[in-house]
Amino acid sequence: MKPRTSKVLAFQLAALLAGLANGLNAQSPEERGLEIAKEMDLRDTGFGDSKAELEMQLTNRHGETSSRQMGMRTLEVVGEGDKTLIIFDQPRDVKGTAFLSYTHKVGPDDQWLYLPALKRVKRIASNNKSGPFVGSEFAYEDLSSQEVEKYTYKYIKDEVVDGIDCFVVERYPVDPKSGYTRQIVWVDKERYISMKLDFYDRKGALLKTLKFSDYKQYLGKYWRADQMNMVNHQTGKATRLLWRDYVFGNGYKARDFDQRSLQNAR
C-alpha cells in the first residue's frame, strides 16, 4: 500500500497546487475534466477485490424480456487495469461458462472463455470491445474497468440531476476501435461517482443513456450502484443490471484469475 499512499499524497499536493494556481491561472476545461476523472479513479482505488451477483434483464421494443444471471469477481491490479472473472449461471445451457479478462490501460484487453460443453478454454480476439456484452445493450467497453487513460476529457458545466449536484464532463475514447465518438458523464460533485452517461455513436448521434441508481457504500469508502439502466435510443431496446451480494476483501490472488482457474470457477 505504500506506493499508493505516496501517489495519493503526490496527487493531493498536485491538486492543492492546481487549486492555488487556479486563482492565478485559469484551468482549461480539458484540465478540469481530467482532474475530475483522476479524482474519481483515486476515490475508487484500493478496494483490493470484490465479488457480486449480477442479474441482467433484457427488453426489446416488442416488450419481450429475457434474463441472465452471473457472478462477477474483480481483482484490483495496481498500475494496470483490473482482472475480471464472470461465471454464467443462467440461462442453463451456458451455466459454468466463464469469461476472464485482463483490462489494460493502453492497448487491447486479454480475454479468454471457458466452454464447459467443450471442456476447453478459448482465447477471444480482442477487436470486440465495441460489441454487445452477451446480447445486451451494454458493450463490453461499457462494463470493463474504467481507467483514466482510456479517454481524454473536457469539463462542460455543472448541472443538477435528480437533485444531485453534478459535474458534466465530456470524454473521448482513445482507442479507435471504440464504438463511440464521445460520452457525456454526470459526476456527483460530492461522492465523485457517475450518475448518468450518454453515449454517442460513430456518426455522432445519441445512441444510449445509462443511469446509475441505488448506490451503496462499502468499506466506508467505495460506492457501488445496485441498479444500472441502459436504454438504446435508436433501437428502443433496454438492459437493466441488478447487482447484489457485494462482498469485498475476499483475499483473491492472481492465480484465482488465470486460465486454469476458469475451469473450476463456480
Binding site: T59, R61, E64, S66, A117, K122, S130, G131, A205, T235
Partner: protein, 787 residues
C-alpha cells in the same frame, strides 16, 4: 310532383343567378378571399416518404412486420452496388475501395449497421483458438495467393453468396442498415442525400469503380421525387392541353380564360383544404391535381356551352348567363354530387393514400361546382365575350347514328350484350401485380439502379419469417436448428430464391471452427449446450454494430429467416410465400406455424385486401347514386336502368385492359368507385334530357332519343374528350399506380360515352318500344333553347 317542380326552383335559381351578376364584385372578391384563406393551409402539407403509407394500421401484414421489427431490429436499408473496373472484385485496389466505403458508411445518419465483403465477420480456427475478424482486415494484400482465400471464403459463405457477392465476381454490395426514428418527415430525404453525397465522394476517390445506389430508403425517397417530378412533367402539359382543347371547342379566348380561372381557384382551394385537414402529399395524391382540373373543366363546359349558344341565339351576355345557370344548375349539381360520392367511396380502401385522394378530389369537385356557378358567371360578365352570330350546322352525325340505331336496334342491343359479356369474362383473367420494385418507371434513377442491382447482384424482394422455438433459449436445441436447416434448404431449392439467411449457417461454421476447421464438422452442434456456448463465444467476438440482434431475439427463443427471391410477379411471390407457410404446417410443431412478413409480403397481398374492401365501397356508391338518380329523374324505372350505362363502362374498361396488358396493381381497386362517379355524369345528362322529352314534350322513345342526342350529344363528346385527355396525361406519370390508373380511367371514360351512345339508346328503345306516352303533358315553359 313532376311538372310543377321545375318552376319554383327555376325561379329561385334565376333569382340567384341574377343576384350573382348584380353583386359580381362581391362574389369575385369573396371568392379570392376564401381561396387566400384556405391557401394558408398549404404550409401544413408535407411529403410522405415511405412505402408504409399504403398500409392502414389495421393491415395484418403491416402489424406482422412491425412485430417482427420490434423483436429483432428495425431495418431500412441502402445498398451501394459496386462494379469492379476489371470485372474482378477480389483485387487489391477494388477491395480497398470497399473498405473505404464500409468505413465511411458508418458515419451516415441513422446507420446502425454496415455489411460488406470486407467487414464480414469471418471466424477461423487458429492454433486451437478461434479467431473472429473482418474478412479483409487491415491492409489488403496485393499477392494473388493471399487474395484467393478471400475469394474462396466469400464464394462458400452462404451469408455472403447472392447477397453481397455472386458467382460472376464483378459486383459487390455494401449494405447499410438504417434505424429511422420516424419522428421527422425529413429523415428519408436526409439519409438519401447523405448516401448520394458519399457516393459522389467515393466516385471522386475511386473513379474507376462504377456505383449504383439502391435500397428501401432510396426507394422511399423516390416517392416524393416522383411526385415532384410528375408535378413538372404532367401538371403543366395538362394545363396546356386543357387550354388548347377548351379554346378549340369553345372558340372563345375569354371563356377559356374564365375556365382557367375556375380551375386555378379550385385547385388552390383543394390544396388549401387538404393542408387544413392535415393530409400529406404522397404519390397517389400526385394524381389529384389532374383529376380535379379535369373534373372542374366539365362543370364549366356545361355552363359555357349553353351560355355561348344563348349568345349565338342573340341574347345579351347577362341574359345568356342567367339562362345558362338556370338550365345547368340542377344537372351540374347532380353530377357534382354523384362524382363526389364516387370519390368518397375510396374511403373504403385499405390504403390510406387512396382515401386521402378520394376525399381531396371530392372536396375539389364540390369547390369546382361552387366556383362554376358563382365565380364563373360573375367573372364572365366582366369580360368582353363576343360570339359570331352565324349559326353552325348541327351535328348531322347524330341524326344518321340514330337512324342506324332505329333500324338495327336488335342487332345493336345483341351486339352490345355480346361485347359486354365477353369483356366481363375477361375481367377475372386480370392478374394482380404489385411489384413495388417496379412502381417507378425508368425515368427515375432508383428504378435503373434497382434493376441493375437485381440483374448483377441480388434482389430486393425479401420474405421474412420469425421462427419461434419451444422455450427460452430453445434456438440452441439441435432439433430446432435441424428444422431451421431443412426450412432453409427447402427455400434454397426453389429456382426463384437467391439466398436464405438464417443463424444455422453461422452455427455450422462455428462448429467447424471449433474443430480445427475440419469440413466434416460443418454441421449442427450435437448438443444444446455446445450450440449455446459457441454462440455466446461468437457474440463475445463481434464488434460494434455487427451483432446477432438482427437475427436472434433477446430471449434466444426465436430467430429470423430471410429469404431473398428474384423479382418475380406478385402472383408467383404469393405462391412462394404460401409454399413456405405450408411447409411449416406440414413439417414443424404447432408453435412454428407462422406467417411470413416483410414489405414484399405486404405488397403481395395489398391488391386483394384493397379490392375486397372496395367491393363494399363501390357497391354502396352504386346504391346511393342509383337512389339519388331515382329521385332526381323522378322515375324508379329510369333510375334502375341507369345502372346499366353506369356499370358497363368499368366492366368494358377492365376487360379491355385485361385483354391488352393482363395485369393491374392495387389501383384497380379504386378505379371502379372512382370512374363510377365520373361516368354517371354522362348517363345523367342523357337520361334527364330523354325523360324531359318524354314527359314535357310528349315525344315517343325514338323522338326522345333524337332529342337527347341533339341537346347533350355534343357536350358529352366535349367532356369525354377533355376527361380522356386529362386522364391520358396522368398515364404519363412515372409512378406506375398513377400511370395505370390514368390510362385505365381514360379507357373507361371512352367506353362510358360509347355505352351512352350505343347501349343506352338501344336499351331505352327496347324498354319503351313504340308505346307512346300520350298522357305526358307538354310543359310550355320548359322549351329549351339548346340544340
Amino acid at each position: 310532383m313532376n311538372q310543377e317542380r321545375p318552376n319554383p326552383r327555376a325561379g329561385r335559381v334565376e333569382r340567384f343567378a341574377a343576384w350573382t351578376l348584380r353583386n359580381r364584385w362581391l362574389v369575385l372578391l369573396s371568392s379570392l378571399v376564401f381561396v387566400a384563406l384556405t391557401l394558408v393551409g398549404t404550409r401544413n402539407i408535407r411529403f410522405d416518404n415511405s412505402y408504409r403509407i399504403f398500409f392502414s394500421e389495421e393491415n395484418p401484414q403491416l402489424q406482422a412486420f412491425d412485430a417482427l421489427q420490434a423483436i429483432y431490429t428495425k431495418d431500412d436499408n441502402i445498398l451501394f452496388v459496386l462494379t469492379a473496373p476489371e470485372d474482378d472484385i477480389y483485387e487489391k485496389s477494388f477491395l480497398e475501395s470497399v473498405q473505404w466505403l464500409t468505413e465511411e458508411a458508418w458515419k451516415l445518419p441513422f446507420t446502425t449497421r454496415v455489411d460488406s465483403l470486407t467487414n464480414f465477420q469471418n471466424s477461423v480456427s487458429q492454433e486451437d483458438d478461434i479467431f473472429v475478424a473482418d474478412l479483409v482486415e487491415g491492409d489488403v494484400p496485393s499477392d494473388s495467393s493471399e487474395l484467393s482465400p478471400i475469394r474462396d471464403t466469400a464464394l462458400n459463405e452462404p451469408l455472403l453468396y447472392n447477397r453481397l457477392i455472386n458467382g460472376q465476381g464483378r459486383t459487390t454490395g455494401v449494405m447499410l442498415t438504417l434505424t429511422l426514428p420516424e419522428k421527422d418527415i425529413n429523415e428519408v430525404p436526409m439519409a438519401t442525400a447523405a448516401a448520394r453525397e458519399l457516393e459522389a465522394r467515393f466516385n471522386q476517390k475511386y473513379p474507376e469503380v462504377d456505383t449504383h445506389l439502391a435500397g428501401m430508403v432510396v426507394m422511399n425517397n423516390a416517392f416524393s421525387e416522383s411526385t415532384i417530378n410528375d408535378m413538372g412533367t404532367i401538371v403543366l402539359p395538362m394545363f396546356a392541353a386543357i387550354f388548347l382543347v377548351m379554346a378549340f371547342l369553345l372558340r372563345s379566348v375569354w371563356s377559356t380564360l374564365a375556365t382557367g380561372g375556375v380551375i386555378m381557384l379550385t385547385l388552390l382551394t383543394s390544396f388549401g383544404i387538404m393542408g387544413w385537414i392535415g393530409i400529406n402529399m404522397s404519390p397517389p395524391l400526385g394524381s389529384m391535381p389532374i383529376m380535379i382540373m379535369t373534373l372542374a373543366v366539365a362543370d364549366s363546359i356545361h355552363i359555357l356551352v349553353t351560355f355561348l349558344n344563348e349568345m349565338r341565339n342573340g341574347r345579351d351576355k347577362r341574359a345568356a348567363l342567367v339562362e345558362s345557370v338556370r338550365i345547368n344548375f340542377s344537372p351540374v349539381f347532380l353530377t357534382t354530387a354523384t362524382t363526389a360520392i364516387g370519390f368518397l367511396s375510396l374511403n373504403f380502401s385499405d390504403a390510406p393514400p387512396f382515401r386521402d385522394l378520394g376525399n381531396v378530389v371530392a372536396i375539389g369537385v364540390v369547390a369546382a361546382w361552387i366556383f362554376s356557378i358563382l365565380f364563373l358567371p360573375a367573372f364572365i360578365s366582366l369580360l368582353p365575350v363576343r360570339v359570331s352570330t352565324e349559326k353552325k350546322a348541327g351535328w348531322s352525325f347524330f341524326d344518321s347514328w340514330v337512324d342506324v340505331l332505329l333500324r338495327r336496334r336488335g342487332t345493336v342491343l345483341a351486339g352490345s350484350v355480346v361485347v359486354v359479356a365477353f369483356m366481363g369474362v375477361m375481367v377475372p383473367r386480370m392478374e394482380l401485380n404489385d411489384q413495388w420494385t417496379k412502381y417507378f418507371d425508368t425515368s427515375l434513377d432508383i428504378r435503373v439502379d434497382m434493376d441493375y442491382a437485381e440483374e448483377n447482384l441480388t434482389g430486393m424482394t425479401n420474405i421474412e419469417f420469425s421462427l419461434p422455438a419451444a422455450e427460452s433459449g430453445g434456438i440452441n436445441e439441435p432439433a430446432y436448428l435441424e428444422l431451421l436447416d431443412r426450412f432453409s434448404k427447402f427455400y434454397k431449392s426453389n429456382p426463384d430464391v437467391l439466398q436464405v439467411n438464417s443463424i444455422v449457417d453461422t452455427m455450422k461454421r462455428l462448429n467447424k471452427n471449433m474443430h480445427g476447421d475440419d469440413p466434416a464438422y460443418y454441421r449442427i452442434p450435437d448438443t444444446r449446450e455446445l450450440a449455446a456456448q459457441y454462440l455466446l463465444m461468437y457474440e463475445f467476438s463481434l464488434p460494434y454494430g455487427l451483432d446477432l440482434n438482427n437475427q436472434i431475439n433477446v430471449d434466444k427463443s426465436s430467430t429470423r429467416v430471410t429469404v431473398t427471391a428474384r423479382d418475380v410477379k406478385t402472383k408467383e411471390l404469393r405462391e412462394l410465400i404460401a409454399e413456405g407457410e405450408q411447409w411449416l404446417v406440414d413439417n414443424a410443431p404447432d408453435y412454428m406455424h407462422v406467417k411470413a412478413a416483410s414489405p414484399t409480403v405486404m405488397f403481395a397481398y395489398i391488391s386483394e385486401r384493397n379490392i375486397s374492401s372496395m367491393v363494399t365501397g363501390t357497391g354502396l356508391a352504386l346504391f346511393s347514386i342509383t337512389v339519388i338518380l331515382i329521385f332526381a329523374l323522378g322515375s324508379f324505372k329510369y333510375g334502375m336502368l341507369s345502372m346499366i350505362p353506369n356499370m358497363v363502362p368499368a366492366i368494358l374498361g377492365i376487360g379491355a385492359w385485361s385483354l391488352l396488358y393482363g395485369e393491374m396493381g392495387m389501383s384497380l381497386a379504386v378505379i371502379t368507385g372512382m370512374t363510377l362517379g365520373i361516368v354517371v355524369d354522362d348517363s345523367v345528362h342523357f337520361l334527364s334530357k330523354y325523360i324531359r322529352a318524354r314527359r314535357e314534350k310528349g315525344m315517343d322513345g325514338e323522338q326522345a332519343i333524337r332529342y337527347a342526342f341533339h341537346t347533350v350529344g355534343k357536350a358529352l363528346v366535349v367532356t369525354t374528350v377533355i376527361l380522356t385527355v386529362g386522364f391520358s396525361i396522368l398515364g404519363l406519370s412515372s409512378f406506375r399506380l398513377n400511370n395505370w390508373m390514368g390510362q385505365l380511367t381514360a379507357i373507361v371514360i371512352v367506353f362510358a360515352l360509347l355505352a351512352d351512345f350505343i347501349l343506352l339508346p338501344a336499351v331505352l328503345l327496347f324498354v319503351d318500344g313504340k308505346k307512346k306516352r300520350k298522357s305526358e303533358l307538354v310543359s310550355e315553359t320548359e322549351v329549351t333553347a339548346t340544340a
